[in-house]
Every structure is written in structure tokens, then in C-alpha cells.
Amino acid sequence: MTTVRVALSAHLRTLASVDGELRISVADPPTVATVLDALESRYPMLRGTIRDYGTHRRRAFIRYFACGRDLSHDSPDVRLPDAVLSGADALRVVGAIAGG
């Protein structure tokens, strides 16, 4: 098991009733997909709010950032960067910047 730091956007933290970063334990291989699987298992109210039911397609207004990179267009089954796996950096679930 690997423990990954996950930083959620403010709306998602409110919905899940959590403060600050989360620490999510995932089975190998640690990927965006397995982190989200574990996140949704622990916080079922987040299902459907980051990626679609069924298809697991990332919602259009959501990006995944880590280590100064945008991971959104990588395969969700790619192993996470070493800095995320070591805990040096967090996987960030980021909402589009928008007003209104």
C-alpha cells in the first residue's frame, strides 16, 4: 500500500466534510484511477463529482495536477510521479477558474 496526499478543491472538501489535504492509502499500482477509486470508496459523496459514473471520464471542468505538471491528459492508469508516491508532493484535483 502507498499513502498519497490528495488536495481537493474547496467545494469538494465541503461536500466531503473534510479540512486540508487528505491522505489516501492505495494498493499498487498507485495511479490517478486507483487514488480516485480509494477516495470515492472512503468518501462516497464524491462519486460523480470528479469523474462520471460508469465511464470514469474526468469531468470537463476538472484537472489533475502534480509536480508542476498537468496529468489530466495522461492515461489515468499511469503510475503517479515519484514525488507523489514519496509524499513530497500532493495530487491536486483542481476546478476550472471561473466567475459568475
Binding site: 469538494l12 465541503t14 460523480g48 462520471d52 476538472i62 476550472a96
Partner: protein, 371 residues
């Protein structure tokens, strides 16, 4: 003493506004789900402490919330709305086929008798039902898979199922309305549906009296007269007295028959309320005067209700789910505006008071009368 609880959905959260039965002093609580667009908040007639709320954003999609203590606390429930079977296509704005895609829940309609049973009208148009308090949802697919479904088109706001009416004496009978497909009736609890648009005419259609394509904005029904349904259409106010078999226009002397909400007096089944706006392209009141129009004859003859409402320089709108009545002896009526005001009348519209003035754009208003 009776209490009144006004449930308000806005573009940036939900609010609960309460008063005793005198309806003079109001307390505003909220926002709940701050920052989220709240499409609708609705209470169970069978258990007034049971509330449901539909919250939504482009970022995170649909979330359904439930309260078991009258809105003091909330918990997220099920938000998986999956269409049954093979998903076909409807028409897109340009007339090309477009696959059905779930976007959000526009309207929540609880069962009159069971607090755990609730219907959800969604975009793209379909009807879902939960029988476990909102934890899980099942589509009543007979509506979406109706033989006309491939010809349904969205209104500019999306192809939304925004009205669900249930006959309280016969829950097998239901009406729904969809922008811009039209109105439908079921006599078997939602399993199958018939088009209920005969008599409607929409001049924007290639065939104005076609069965499909009418942009119905809202339906309203008095529970004692379930065969009589009133309709605010894209243009025209209409009524049916034969359960949707035929419709008659009753716009009469309205200054404009364009509008969104329509409501029926709690104790007078032929007293109805609308809020005219200028036109399909100018969604604000004629002459800058916010006027509710009341008909005591079920339409055709209308009177303007203005006392307490702004009568100059007012350019707000009232959206389709943003008007409701209470059930106290002197019927109260409430509506919310796109400018964030909630107006209330404790005398069936004769006089009005703003009970909230600075909320976000109001999406929905419902009222619970708690005895």
C-alpha cells in the same frame, strides 16, 4: 400555531425562510450548499421534516441532499442517474440527432403519501424515481423512450423535465412537462405516457399545432380537481378540463401571455396566478412594473396585483419553479426573482411584502405549511 417554511433555491445556495402563521416576521437561514446552484428544494407532504435539495455546478455535476430535520442539517444522498437501456437520440438545436446525456435535476416531486418516495425531473428530459429516500434512483424509461422522443428538442435553457404533478387521490395518474417537447400524462404510475398537447398552438413551430415541440414552461393543478390543469406556455396561458385531452387558451386580458410560473390558490381551484413578462426575447415585466396577475375565473379575466411590488424601473424575472402557495386559511403566495427578492402575500396577492431582498438569483420557491 401554524408555521410557514419557505424553501428557496438560488444560483449560489439554498435558504430556508420561516415565520409563524401570522406571516409578518421572517427569519432567513442559509446559505446551505454555498456556491452551488440549487435548482430546487422541496419538502415531503407526508413528513414536513423531510426535505430534498438538488444542487449542481458545471464543475462537479449533480449532488442530491436530504434533510430529516426541516433543513437544519443535510446529508448527500444518491446522485447516480443512469438512463435505462440503450440511450437513443433527440434533436439538437440545429435539428441533428443528439445523444441523451444526463446533466442535472431540475425538479423534485415527493410522493404525497410516502416520504421515502420521490420523483426527479432531469435534463436531458427523463423521469427518475427513488423509493429509498433518495439513496438510489431508477428511470421510468417509458417517458424517454416514447415514440416521439427522437423528435424532442431542447429549449434554450436545456431539454429539461421541469414539472411533475401527481394526482393525490390516484397516484397512478401523473403529468409531466418538458421544454421544449410538451406535456405528457401517465395513467399507470409513470410506466407509459401519452402526449397531452391537443389544442396547443405554438407559432414558432413549422406546424403550430404539432403534437410535439411546444415549450411548456409550467403546469399547475389543484389537488381537488386533478382533471383541470393550468399551463403557462412559452406564449399563451392555457387550461384543460379533461386531463390534458384538449387545451384552451385563457390568456384573455393579460398585458403579455409570456411568462414562466403559474400557481393555483389553495382553497379556490379556479383562482390562478401568473407573472407576465414582456416577450420571449425580453424577460422582464412590461413597463418595468412587477405585477402578479390573478384570475378568479380560471383564466380569461385577469386583474393586476401591485400593492407592495415595485412599479417602476423593475426588470427582474420570475423563473418557472419560483412561485408557490401555502395552505393557511387566508392563502399565502410567494415568489422569488432573478434579482434575489422573495415577495410574500398573506392575502392571496392583494398585498405584498419583500421577506428577502438581497439573495442570489432565485431558481425555486416552495412553501411548507406546518400545523
Amino acid at each position: 400555531m401554524a408555521r410557514v417554511r419557505v424553501l428557496v433555491g438560488t444560483q449560489k445556495g439554498a435558504f430556508v425562510i420561516t415565520s409563524d402563521g401570522a406571516r409578518r416576521d421572517w427569519k432567513i437561514e442559509g446559505p446551505h450548499f454555498g456556491g452551488w446552484e440549487v435548482m430546487h428544494v422541496q419538502g415531503s407532504p407526508a413528513d414536513p421534516e423531510r426535505l430534498y435539495a438538488s444542487q449542481w455546478t458545471d464543475w462537479h455535476g449533480q449532488v442530491l441532499q436530504r434533510s430529516d430535520d426541516g433543513g437544519a442539517s443535510w446529508e448527500p444522498v444518491g446522485n447516480e442517474f443512469t438512463y435505462e437501456g440503450v440511450t437513443g437520440t433527440h434533436q439538437w438545436y440545429d435539428g441533428t440527432p443528439h445523444p441523451w446525456e444526463f446533466k442535472r435535476v431540475w425538479h423534485l416531486e415527493p410522493s404525497p403519501t410516502d416520504p421515502d418516495t420521490i420523483f426527479a425531473g432531469v435534463e436531458d428530459a427523463a423521469l427518475f424515481r427513488s423509493t429509498d429516500g433518495g439513496l438510489t434512483w431508477t428511470e421510468l424509461a417509458g417517458l424517454r423512450t416514447h415514440s416521439t422522443g427522437q423528435d424532442w428538442t431542447p429549449g434554450a435553457g436545456g431539454m429539461c423535465l421541469h414539472t411533475v404533478l401527481i394526482d393525490p387521490a390516484n397516484d397512478e395518474r401523473m403529468y409531466v412537462a418538458i421544454s421544449a417537447a410538451g406535456a405528457f400524462r401517465s395513467d399507470d404510475g409513470g410506466a407509459s405516457w401519452n402526449v397531452a398537447t391537443r389544442g396547443l398552438s405554438s407559432t414558432f413551430l413549422p406546424e403550430p399545432e404539432a403534437p410535439i415541440g411546444h415549450c411548456v414552461h409550467k403546469l399547475a393543478m389543484h389537488p381537488d380537481r386533478p382533471d383541470t390543469v393550468f399551463m403557462q406556455k412559452h406564449w399563451d396561458v392555457c387550461r384543460t378540463d379533461d386531463a390534458g385531452e384538449s387545451w384552451t387558451e385563457v390568456s384573455g386580458n393579460l398585458p403579455s401571455d409570456f411568462g414562466f410560473p403559474i400557481a393555483v390558490h389553495t382553497h379556490e381551484p379556479d383562482t390562478i396566478f401568473v407573472v407576465p413578462i414582456l416577450s420571449d426575447s425580453e424577460h422582464y415585466p412590461p413597463e418595468g412594473k412587477l405585477r402578479v396577475y390573478r384570475s378568479r375565473s380560471g383564466g380569461n379575466e385577469w386583474e393586476a396585483l401591485t400593492k407592495g411590488l415595485p412599479q417602476q424601473d423593475c426588470y427582474v424575472n420570475v423563473l418557472r419553479d419560483a412561485m408557490a402557495v401555502d395552505s393557511l386559511d387566508s392563502c399565502g403566495i410567494y415568489f422569488g426573482t432573478t434579482g434575489g427578492q422573495i415577495y410574500a402575500s398573506a392575502d392571496a396577492g392583494d398585498t405584498w411584502t419583500a421577506i428577502a431582498e438581497h439573495l442570489p438569483r432565485v431558481s425555486s420557491v416552495e412553501v411548507q405549511t406546518i400545523l
